[in-house]
Amino acid sequence: MNVAVIGVGHTKFGELWDQSINDLLAHAQLEAFADARLKPQAIDEIYTANMCAGMIEGQLHLGALAAEVIGVDLPATRIEAACVSGSLALRAGMMAIASKQAEVVLVSGVEKMTDVSNDVIATTLFGASDVEAEKYTGVTFPGLFAMITRSYFHKYGITRKDLAHVSVKNHAHAALNPLAHLRKSITHEQVLASSMVADPLSLLDCSLVSDGAAAVVLCSKEFAEKNNYTPIYITGSGASVDSIHLAARDDITTFQATNKAAQKAFAMAGVTPDDIDVLEVHDAFTMAEIMAVEDLGFVEKGKGAHAIASGEMNLDGRLPTNPSGGLKAKGHPVGATGVAQAVEIVKQLRGECGQRQVDNAKIGLTHNVGGIGTTVAVHIFQKEV
């Protein structure tokens, strides 16, 4: 099932008070059409990812909104799966093409998070967890990840100092990305000195609350060939879920859903972790990136922090991870994130990333997570098939 990406669009991520959710959607989607040299009317279907608008702004029905801003009348569906909404919208778009119900599909993702107080954001993001079983204990979303982090520390003997390398690396990458929310490098000491959010995770261990949108235009291999595109292909897609109630899992230092999604995606693409040249992983927290590179099969379990500290995952390292700056520094408008990861990998494989370009990247991977390792989607992108 090879689906081609022929157009990408990506707004600046950040605190965009002068732009509404409609503005962001319009911007990203129209940019993707321009990139694909297509008119909006050329598509057959829209999948739009969004998590929070229903709770933050009271705005539901995002599918219709996405169609409205580009002036088309066709099937348009909103996909919601917390922070993995974007990757599942991408998957839905692929399925529509694979089933031959559509030839060209627009997949977009959008989130507008900075208009409201942190309390509203915290309540909304907690919706990714088992609300009845967990919320009323007073635990927060970072609190849940902090408990995972403590278990991991206990099991593998790493400390906050080891986590900080992730934050430093991703900020350094974001400094090279004009679309990133926080374009500044930070030091190891700054990470360790930042205020505590949920022990042992401090402010600079956590990803950003951002506004932003991203979009891709997908089409069938036949459509791409017929119209002389030089696309990037999505050759593998895997998704899985684990218990939404964190306490129901026996081992919280590994995300089984990441293991399973990765295995499915690698099998579908017919590649192995050794073949991957560049990856974007879901670093909602510094600990999450360490677990991601392990659970995806790139690094032995327990060695992720060391691999990142050694520079292996830097832009010029063996396995450049989060060249965009990741959720940590590029920003995390949750509904947009999965689509934005796809945009970054497509641009890397096309060689359009300027200062943050990974040399000679041919195969890339995105890893997107909803909840606390609850729903995971992995996609593999290839320049040549």
Binding site: N118, D119, A122, T123, F126, E132, A133, E134, Y136, T137, G138, V139, T140, P142, G143, L144, A146, M147, I148, R150, S151, H154, S195, M196, V197, A198, D199, P200, L201, H245, L246, A247, A248, R249, D250, I252
Partner: protein, 374 residues
């Protein structure tokens, strides 16, 4: 803030730590499940013991508004003794007090309220069990530390730990004394359990009482001595309430390992200690009274149950005969009951009684520690 209907729906889960057990494989779950890992889909309610081990934890410093007043507070994942893991707030502790794999027990706490006239939510939270409260910051530690010092000087082997009040006893107190949850002064209680030989029990407990009340001022009317006169259900313990740091009332329970085992496990545990001394055995007395009830051909079933229950649960009153003998009777007993207790014939011939030297009709309730003459 959970909405009132959700709160009502989950009251057994959060107020009593009730989950389910699969009727096929007996695996237990919290919260409830609809399909078991074994494939079974029929479940029965199961109330967890509340004992568990802390598997991981965090301290929240950036919290939702509703918990702002509690910041910083700790939350953890607890593996219950029966198997499942739960997420629970950790109460009366600071981050430094916590460690992975420490034992905890469930306690009942006020959680939040929805304004002056709104609904107050309560929650099962976890409290570190055993002697592991070693940090400096908590109230429990502030209270226990000076007591530990005098106990170490005394030299008896001992255990000291915070005793969470059970939900049922809090409920009873709120109901019978018409007080609010916050007004229950001994929400915090401490139990000191001594390991001393049987013949030194009483002296040792009183010696500890004397030392503890030198550290914290006692409230005399709250002294309860169930060591000298055990409850007829066998309960033996010396209770006092003292004024702890910050002027808070703290109940202190003093007892020995033997008494603690009987209190915690009931009379079954008592067999172990039988025959060690020649003292009249409360267990035998209790068993005799049960036999007596069962042998009585005149009593009907309801009366039997009510007598039996009185023996098990009722609060006690102590009545002193003119000869100075102290007799335990259930609360609400009348002078006539007392007369029958002395001898059936005394009961049949009783017309009036003298309570504390004044006449009283024989069917009025008597009060504890009054002297009766017939």
């Amino acid at each position: 803030m959970m909405n009132p209907i959700a709160q009502w729906r989950t009251r057994d889960n959060y107020y009593r730590l009730q989950g389910v057990t699969c009727t096929s494989c007996h695996k237990k779950f919290f919260p409830k499940k609809h399909l078991c890992v074994c494939g079974g889909s029929t479940f029965e309610n199961y109330t967890f013991s509340g004992e568990g081990i802390l598997k991981t934890f965090t301290q929240i410093t950036v919290s939702p508004t509703v918990f702002k007043d509690a910041v910083p507070y700790c939350v953890g994942i607890v593996e219950l003794a029966e198997g499942p893991r739960i997420i629970a707030p950790l109460t009366d502790v600071a981050l430094d007090d916590l460690s992975i794999d420490m034992p905890v027990v469930a306690v009942f706490r006020r959680y939040c309220s929805n304004g002056e006239k709104g609904i107050i939510s309560y929650f099962d939270q976890d409290w570190p069990a055993g002697t592991s409260m070693s940090g400096e910051k908590t109230y429990g530690c502030k209270f226990i530390k000076p007591i530990k010092r005098v106990m170490d000087e005394l030299g008896y082997p001992y255990r000291i730990f915070g005793r969470p009040k059970s939900i049922f006893s809090i409920y009873n107190k709120i109901k019978t004394k018409s007080v609010s949850f916050e007004e229950i002064y001994d929400l915090f209680a401490v139990r000191i359990v001594l390991d001393v030989p049987r013949n030194k029990e009483k002296a040792a407990c009183w010696q500890v009482y004397s030392e503890v009340t030198d550290v914290f001022k006692p409230i005399p009317e709250r002294l309860k001595d169930w060591i000298t006169t055990p409850k007829s259900n066998g309960y033996e313990s010396l209770h006092t309430t003292v004024i702890g740091p910050e002027g808070k009332f703290v109940e202190v329970q003093l007892r020995t390992e033997r008494m603690d085992e009987i209190a915690e496990r009931g009379f079954a545990a008592h067999w172990k200690y039988k025959g060690i001394t020649n003292q009249p055995d409360v267990y035998d007395t209790w068993l005799d009274s049960i036999r007596e009830i069962m042998d009585n051909p005149n009593s009907d079933a309801l009366e039997f149950i009510s007598d039996f229950k009185n023996n098990l649960y009722a609060e006690e009153i102590f009545v002193v005969t003119p000869m100075g003998d102290m007799i335990n009777m259930p609360k609400g007993s009348t002078a006539l009951d007392f007369a029958f207790h002395i001898h059936t014939d005394v009961g049949y011939h009783c017309k009036a009684v003298k309570v504390n030297n004044s006449s009283q009709w024989s069917d009025e309730s008597v009060y504890s520690k009054r002297q009766l003459l017939d």
